[in-house]
Symmetry: C2
Subunit: 281 residues, 2 copies
């Protein structure tokens, strides 16, 4: 183990009458947060003492948040019975379930969320790009700008950001026309792809060089008549919905800011507002 990294504690009797630093959670468990370095022998002694205490207290799920700098404690924690829960670049979260009863630890984030941006201008043109990488690279196919929604980012904001990044065009969000759920798109994770309708508020394209080969305003009809549109169901449905939208015969979901839950966290509800605005008959 990493005993060679513990210059002071080695050979000294380990203090085992203190539990590791933690905060309680809302579900009868707690989160251990290791903020100062600790050698693994010391850690194992404290962890065993802590788990014995928490077991007596009837605690349930024990979360262990190990920053990257505490990587020396990963192996000892697993050997004490912890399992991986999730990880981000800077930390690894492990979990230990104390009760005999079935584990009710919530699952890790399961979905990657992406947006596709339909930007239609008043000349019945659609904003399209060709990408430098990915499955359509080199195919000559023009597609709508797409991208990944970051953790903590609103779906509509991601659509606006991606269009700006890839093409330099400023936009306003109008509505989500439809969305698509698929699976195993990224390792075992599932994928939600939101098709957003945006209104352009600028017109001069400044394409981004890193990922975008070309960008243009294309006549909507020409985009719809690309061979891919007939071969690929999603391309086809997007164009079909857009056609109806241009004829004002389709309603998607638009946004309503909302205090969603009991901690008054702000969020957005996406709903059919056209119907909501109908006068009561």
């Amino acid at each position: 183990m990493s005993g060679h990294e513990a210059p002071l504690n080695n050979g000294v009797a380990h203090k085992t009458d203190e539990v590791l630093p933690f905060v309680e959670d809302d579900y009868g468990g707690l989160i251990v947060e290791m903020n100062t370095p600790m050698d693994s022998t010391c850690f194992v002694a404290s962890l065993r003492y802590s788990l014995a205490e928490w077991r007596l207290q009837g605690k349930k799920g024990i979360w262990l948040n190990l920053p990257l700098s505490h990587v020396n404690l990963v192996e000892p924690a697993v050997k004490e019975g912890f399992r991986y829960h999730h990880a981000e670049p800077t930390y690894l979260m492990l979990v230990y379930w104390i009760p005999e009863a079935a584990c009710t630890i919530p699952l890790n984030a399961s979905h990657r969320v992406r947006v596709g941006a339909v930007v239609l201008n008043q000349n019945e043109e659609i904003l399209v790009v060709q990408e430098k990488y990915g499955t359509l690279c080199g195919s000559g196919i023009w597609k709508i700008p797409t991208g990944v929604v970051d953790e903590g980012e609103e779906i509509f904001a991601a659509a606006i950001r991606e269009v700006k990044e890839e093409t330099g065009i400023d936009t306003e969000f109008l509505e989500i026309l439809a969305f698509c759920q698929t699976h195993e798109s990224f390792f075992a994770k599932s994928d939600l792809f939101f098709i957003c309708l945006l209104r352009p508020t600028s017109f001069d394209i400044q394409k981004q060089d890193l990922e975008i080969e070309a960008a243009q305003w294309m006549r909507f009809e020409d985009s719809a008549s690309q061979p891919i549109t007939h071969k690929n169901e999603l391309f086809n449905d997007i164009h079909r919905i857009c056609s109806m939208k241009m004829e004002k015969r389709y309603t998607g979901f638009s946004t309503k800011p909302i205090k969603a839950f009991f901690d008054d966290k702000l969020g957005y509800l996406y709903l059919n507002k056209l119907d909501m605005n109908h006068p009561i008959s």
Copy 2:
């Protein structure tokens, strides 16, 4: 480190002229998959040799998939420059970006996806529960059944499953009435909550004992007039949308099976089908 676990290789010259086992990915990188145990000294030698080779070959992102049984290799990998990418109970995925150019490694799954199930019967009653745990526990508030969408599970299927699990009621999915995005709901992850409308096909409630305190068919009016409905915006919006739906004045998104992408993976598109079915004027 875990040298004490390597009874055979210790003190033996390590074979460093073979790269670690890998498969190439579609983005100029590769995935290392460690299937057999390896002591950490041997691993570090092979890893250094492999990275030098891959650097010469112009490889980009190097993924390292370490099953829980290979926990002894986590610390050495991090010390060689790998960073955590994501983790599931049985493995930890690390990544190393070789090029000088900006890292284009895709982000980890960012969203937890949940469903709320609105089940309305023909007597204008709604299926509601009281939970044994969570923020509403002990409050006397009746709420719709809710739950987490598993990795690989369809949203509509999760709604049907949760209703069956919590109340024993069989249902058919009709449409998604609205959805809500919030942030930092579960560690740093964002949350998508889909409000699903279901039609019951059975009527006798068999409540689940583990998580559910009580379940009943409640007059829709009584549910809507609970004090929480006036205090909580989401409760309020759900009831408002349901009222309109009962008067046939609201349209959500319903499902269309689709081959979504270029690998012909099956998925579901959620869209406003009522509009789609309107005759072209």
